[in-house]
Amino acid sequence: MTATSTAPAATDQAMAEFDRTTSRWGRATMIAGLLVSIAGPLYLVFAGGLDIAPAQLWIAFAAVAATFGIIWIVEPLTYYPILGPAAMYQAFMIGNISNKLLPAALIAQTNIGAKPGTRRGQLASVVAICGAAAVHLASLALFVGLLGSWLISVIPPAAMNVTRLYVLPAVLGAVLVQAIVSMKQPRTTVIALAVAAAVVFLVLPAVPGLAMVSTAIAVLGTVLLAWFFRSRQPASKARPAQPVHLE
């Protein structure tokens, strides 16, 4: 192979070119994806003839931001060292990072004998994420777009109603357990459960007007108490930050 004789300077130049291309186009495609993804709801809200007041939109968004605002910033920070700059622009558009994209990248690196963190490993993970994206798009189009739409048309209305009514508790029960298990922080878990229970079963019945901001209160309360009562073990024994598994 001719490449083995290439001088290091040529390697640096080629990788600099790679970084330039992926940064420029990664940003451009991510902005395009962002705009397309919000175009649909914006159309419904402003052109759908639904008579929605702007204040309702901002209150709804503010309630979501109060709950997930911390995660928006922390998640990119925790994934950056694992993904590297190029794959960041792929991962946060394709989604399902921890359960799909990271395993794909690791397996590809293993299969071509590239170490994570090396340039070869970085290229392998970018390619692996492209492969994962191809499979993911195909499976979504086939199973959700086609099969799912067919399922909706044949499912009895009674079963549809049950699904609509109870899918929220069906998702949240499992998600709560998953969050508790994957974070591995017993102390934080106990505090979170106690705060949430207090908010839902004591504060809300007493002050029903707080229903709008109940989740935000629970999040803020848990963060403050968990920080105040954190275990102060020596830094060497403290566990490194676990990537947050939401995307």
């Binding site: 490449a3 080629a14 790679f18 990664g26 495609t29 994806g33 397309v36 919000i38 649909g40 914006l42 809200v45 639904l50 968004f61 979501v64 709950t67 997930f68 998640e75 700059p85 190029a86 622009y89 792929q90 946060f92 558009m93 794909a104 397996i107 690196q109 392998a124 993970s125 970018v126 994962a132 994206a133 993911h136 799912g148 049950v162 609509r164 009514l165 109870y166 899918v167 929220l168 508790p169 069906a170 029960g173 499992a174 998600v175 998953q178 508790i180 298990v181 974070m183 934080t188 459960l193 705060v195 949430a196 839902v200 989740t215 309360g221 848990t222 920080w227 954190r230 676990q242 939401l246």
Partner: protein
């Protein structure tokens, strides 16, 4: 809370959730991801020889990524199908399938509906409530991309300020925020009805069992499929309990 939105009281969500414009946007998101993948693959092919990566290595990497994504992709598809009745195919495809995740988008939709005094899925879940929920989860989802767009260049330059963030805070704060949010959202479901309690409990129990078996038997696919299996089992329990 009794403040249902009066004017557009239709609860026929799927009538507007399947609007052609929304399908067009889904096609757009798919298209953007395809274009991005092609550009990145070309960039890799150019840079590969300089780091001793052969064309065969590139093919192997692509195939490894594709094969390892089959299981997780099908697991995501199962979760997405369970949410079709609530959000319709275009919203599910662009939000839960791509970009976001079931945990975030369902939570965001529930929170947004709550600010209107409505609940997802019942008679207060009108077209307007769906539109506001879809808006809130999409703009919220876009915040991840905005954070990525801002932080990635900063991190590339090795910004010292970001690296200096206290590691203990990075571990505790996000975990506390997430568990606190999901615990509160989950508990909020419980007083609604006995069936809600059963559904939530079954879902939590099945997930706990899946994770336990995944650990003791070393079957990692149980971890991927845990959410889908839990949702389907819990919905089955809801169907039996509600007696319809």
């Amino acid at each position: 809370m009794h403040a249902p939105m009066a004017p557009t009281g239709s609860t026929d969500i799927l009538a507007i959730a399947n609007a052609p414009v929304l399908w067009l946007c889904v096609a757009g998101v798919f298209g953007v991801i395809v274009v991005q993948s092609l550009i990145f693959l070309r960039a890799v092919r150019r840079a590969a020889p300089s780091v001793q990566m052969t064309p065969a290595d590139i093919r192997t990497s692509f195939r490894s990524g594709a094969v390892s994504a089959i299981g997780p992709s099908l697991a995501v598809a199962l979760v997405a199908i369970a949410l079709l009745a609530l959000f319709g195919a275009p919203a599910v495809l662009s939000r839960i399938g791509l970009i976001g995740s079931a945990a975030y988008d369902v939570s965001a939709a529930g929170i947004a509906a709550g600010t209107l005094g409505a609940k997802l899925g019942d008679e207060s879940y009108t077209q307007s409530v769906f539109a506001v929920a879809f808006f809130a989860m999409s703009i919220g989802g876009a915040m991840w991309m905005i954070a990525t767009l801002i932080l990635t260049p900063l991190l590339r330059r090795g910004d010292a300020k970001i690296r200096a963030i206290n590691p203990a805070a990075m571990a505790i704060v996000p975990a506390a925020a997430l568990i606190g949010a999901f615990a509160c959202l989950g508990f909020t479901e419980l007083p609604k009805s006995g069936t809600h309690v059963v559904t939530c409990a079954v879902s939590a129990a099945v997930m706990a069992l899946s994770l336990l078996l995944a650990k003791t038997l070393g079957k990692s696919w149980l971890r991927e499929w845990g959410l889908g299996i839990s949702i389907v089992t819990a919905l089955g329990a809801a169907l039996l309990t509600s007696g319809s």
